[in-house]
């Protein structure tokens, strides 16, 4: 197929392709795009903000205006990113559900970026803080190490990071559609096992 001749589509080809990596990449990219675009906003216009505050600018109005503008940009980014990945990799999951998860991740990234921007004293500092906040989301996201294999002491961190939650949702959606087709290998869910349940397998189980 034509998509197999293009970069990602060539690497992750076939119905049993290990798509957990690209699905996690979708979530992290959405978070990262949101955080990067919003991180320079407040710190970059601190002088203008201070002057506007003197003429009765309200903080909630200012923050929500920034969130709204970046959310519109985030919708375009998420649609573009997801359309490209769907086209190249042939995800089985619903486009609408994955778009909703991508948008939620993007919104979380925007909120994180605004908090960083409010905290940072210079634009350079804001740019440095973004990767520092995203890296724990990658570590505890459930792809590098399944949640069931992490020490119990750090489960709280894995349950707190937005990437784990968003990743779990896209994997569940992909698996539910794969189960309906009954011809593809389900991806490992990487979920935290419930009480009395066994941990999910770290690698996909081939069909009998």
């Amino acid at each position: 197929m034509a998509r197999h001749r293009l970069g990602l589509g060539w690497v992750f080809r076939g119905d049993d392709a290990p798509l957990t990596g690209p699905l996690f990449m979708l979530v992290i990219t959405s978070l990262w795009l949101g955080a990067t675009s919003a991180s320079g906003e407040i710190v970059g216009e601190r002088a203008i903000y201070d002057r506007e505050r003197m003429v009765n600018l309200k903080i909630p109005s200012y923050i929500f205006s920034k969130t709204a503008i970046h959310s519109i940009l985030g919708v375009c980014q998420s649609i573009g990113l997801l359309a490209l990945l769907h086209l190249l990799l042939g995800f089985k999951g619903s486009f609408a559900v994955m778009l909703a998860v991508s948008l939620l991740s993007n919104l979380t990234g925007i909120a994180l970026g605004l908090a960083i921007s409010a905290l940072a004293k210079t634009k350079r500092m804001a740019d440095t803080l973004v990767p520092l906040c995203i890296i724990p989301m990658i570590i505890f996201g459930g792809t590098l190490l399944p949640i069931g294999k992490m020490p119990k002491e750090v489960w709280w961190a894995a349950n707190l990071v937005p990437s784990r939650m968003a990743f779990d949702m896209v994997v569940r959606e992909e698996n539910s559609q794969r189960a309906k087709e009954r011809k593809t290998v389900p991806l490992a869910t990487y979920s935290q096992p419930a009480a009395g349940e066994k941990a999910p397998p770290a690698t996909p189980v081939p069909p009998k």
């Binding site: 407040i42 201070d50 505050r53 003197m54 903080i59 909630p60 200012y62 923050i63 929500f64 969130t67 939620l104 991740s105 919104l107 979380t108 925007i110 909120a111 994180l112 605004l114 908090a115 921007s117 409010a118 905290l119 349950n159 707190l160 937005p162 939650m165 968003a166 779990d168 949702m169 569940r172 539910s176 979920s191 419930a194």
Partner: protein, 46 residues
Amino acid sequence: MKALFTVPKTGEKRTVDELSAVMVLMGESLAMILAAMLILKSRDRV
């Protein structure tokens, strides 16, 4: 796992985990927006 709600039209059962994931993502967004507001308020020069 017990199904918590049913998706309209499709009738598909969604579980507690999916709903809690949405709630966590939205809650974290709101918490970080509030944090940004509090930081701005604490550094107010007006």
